[in-house]
């Protein structure tokens, strides 16, 4: 029994050390973002002598925070909304329809999940240019829908199987047409998997870097991540400013994380198991 207690204590200590190491970079970024450049270089590890907001005011303007955040929000919401709408319709119908055509379409969607983004980024950029969706936030959201529906369809397809067909038959007897049946009866029942899909897609779209980098050219339409990337390139040595920008960029996800932690973790586990 004594031995068991000491092992348990040892595990707690190890986890605590690990947690401290894991948290260290975030701690460093936060405390140094409140220091002036001079104070920072005297010691990176000590707490700031006086809270110094100058870096944040500077970073706020330089990454055009409000505008960039708005762009990220628009792209994420439109992207997620589009993926959920298109994929739930398609996933439901493909799941309920038997036959070669239906199977072939479903296979096409599923097979494409293995295509790495870096293998299509060159033709995709050309395609976006020729359709002139390149350079616009709305265009980028539409591209996210095109790239994201495959996984969402896969998850919806599996989930629909657990919904009894009798519900649809009853609705149809009551005079609903197909579309009414879907939006009034089926879609509300898909909420659990919709939440999972929305979370996974939010994490993907909000944190994505390469696609916005290829698609957005005008700094007015930059996402939060892209603006910070530009700042990092321009003010290479100005670390206190950069750190403030990094903290500002991380704050939205940390807030969302603290509110939706359970949903996010559940969503990841769910998405992985089904995948």
């Amino acid at each position: 029994m004594i031995q068991k207690k000491s092992t348990s204590l040892l595990i707690t200590i190890m986890l605590s050390i690990g947690a401290a190491v894991s948290f260290f970079p975030i701690y460093l970024a936060v405390i140094n973002s409140f220091k002036s450049q001079g104070e920072m270089f005297r010691s990176f590890v000590s707490l700031p002598a006086k809270i110094h907001f100058g870096n944040y005011i500077d970073a706020f303007q330089k990454i055009n925070l409000l505008n960039s955040t708005l762009n990220s929000v628009i792209i994420s919401l439109l992207g997620i909304g589009g993926i959920v709408l298109c994929a739930s319709l398609a996933g439901y119908k493909l799941s309920r329809t038997s036959g070669k055509l239906s199977n072939l379409i479903f296979f096409l969607f599923i097979a494409s999940m293995l295509v790495p983004f870096h293998s299509i980024m060159i033709p995709l950029t050309r395609m976006a240019k020729s359709l002139s969706v390149q350079g616009s936030t709305y265009g980028l959201a539409i591209i996210y829908i095109g790239l994201g529906v495959n996984m969402a369809i896969f998850l919806y397809h599996g989930f629909v199987k657990s919904i009894p067909r009798e519900l649809e038959e009853a609705a149809q007897i009551d005079g609903c047409n197909e579309y009414q049946t879907f939006f009034r009866i089926i879609f509300p029942l898909l909420v659990p998997i919709t939440v999972t899909i929305a979370i996974l897609d939010f994490l993907w779209i909000w944190n994505d870097f390469l696609l916005p980098l290829l698609m957005l050219t005008d700094s007015e339409s930059f996402t939060l991540i892209l603006s910070t990337n530009t700042l990092f390139g321009e003010y290479n040595k100005d670390w206190s400013l950069i750190l403030a920008a990094l903290v500002l960029t991380a704050i939205p996800v940390i807030i969302i994380y603290s509110f939706f932690q359970r949903f996010i973790m559940h969503g990841i586990a769910e998405g992985a198991v089904k995948g």
Binding site: I11, L15, A19, S22, F24, P25, I26, L28, A29, N32, S43, V45, G82, C86, L89, A90, Y92, K93, L94, T97, L101, S102, L108, F109, S112, L114, V115, P116, H118, S119, I120, M121, I122, L124, M127, I142, I143, G146, L147, N150, I153, F182, L203, W206, N207, F209, L210, L214, I225, T228, F232, W239, I242, L246, A250, I254, I256, I268, A272, V273
Partner: protein, 294 residues
């Protein structure tokens, strides 16, 4: 009957078309187009181009040392990531699952880095590697911290690994935690009564029960690691020179550096696709066999 089957196809069409059109434009056609142009010498501008068979592929693998080096560098990275990421994630999951009160706290802390965008993580760590660690080495007794964390390719390989692990372990940990919660308590208790040590219980009861989670995490790590881009882009930019360049970066450079070798860059993309496909296929084949039903 023809009316009914027309109705059936019409309804299938209206439900599937929105998703399929966008998917076709932005994913299917680019995939097929990239494969098509990988066999040509198209420069991306001219109207005319010639088919050159496997010429681009031969050139990439035989005459392009930068590409081959990036390939080896990526393979080394993938290998380290698969082993270390799963080891850390599973270890953390097992330890955290064994806690009672502090479970939620540790889970929150270890998962948090995963919320932060990879590129932002890389910038954050650039600060740690370039500024903080050298200063710590100077001021404290930890002299070994004074390394060229970003400048020396041999060291920066491990810097890249560190950032990737910091950013990625949390995600796998969540999947392993979910897997561990699916192991029936009664089985573990039975093993305990039979006199198994905690390690034996883990080795012979828990591990076989979570092979499904292991398969998934290996799959996700393998796929993600081959596609590594942001960490390297943010940390070393592929440098010094091209010593830490990964495949995706090599493709990126080839495609967007105005070399105007569209066909050649496409061939490199196809090589990446095929490599990932082969490795994934082998991994799934090998690991699916080991899974047991609960």
């Amino acid at each position: 009957m023809p009316v009914r089957s027309f109705k059936k196809y019409f309804s299938l069409f209206t439900f599937v078309a929105p998703a399929f059109v966008l998917y076709a434009i932005f994913l299917l056609i680019p995939t097929l187009g990239g494969m098509f142009y990988s066999f040509t010498d198209w420069n991306g501008l001219n109207r005319s181009y010639d088919f050159i068979g496997f010429g681009n592929f031969v050139e990439a693998l035989a005459e392009d040392p930068d590409f081959v080096n990036s390939l080896w560098f990526t393979l080394k990275y993938v290998l380290f990531m698969i082993v270390l990421q799963n080891l850390f994630a599973l270890g953390l999951a097992v330890f955290i699952e064994s806690r009672s009160r502090s479970k939620g706290f540790f889970r929150t802390i270890f998962f948090m880095p995963n919320m932060i965008s990879t590129i932002i993580s890389a910038f954050m760590w650039t600060f740690v590697f370039a500024q903080v660690l050298p200063q710590l080495a100077e001021k404290t007794a930890f002299a070994f911290l004074d390394q060229a964390w970003i400048g020396d390719p041999n060291v920066s390989f491990f810097s890249i690994l560190t950032v990737s692990l910091w950013n990625g372990v949390g995600y796998m940990m969540i999947i392993y935690l979910a897997g561990l919660q699916g192991v029936p308590q009664s089985l573990k208790e039975a093993a305990l009564i039979d006199g198994a040590t905690p390690f034996q219980t883990f080795r012979n009861v828990t591990l076989p029960m979570i092979t499904h989670a292991i398969t998934i995490c290996f799959f996700l790590t393998l796929n993600g690691a081959f596609k590594v881009f942001e960490v390297v882009y943010g940390l070393t930019g592929g440098g010094p020179g091209r010593s830490t360049q990964v495949i995706t970066m090599n493709i990126y450079e080839e495609a967007f550096s105005n070399n105007f070798r569209y066909g050649y860059a496409s061939a490199k993309s196809v090589i990446l696709f095929v490599i990932i496909l082969i490795f994934t296929f082998i991994q799934i084949r090998v690991m699916k066999k080991r899974e047991v039903e609960a």
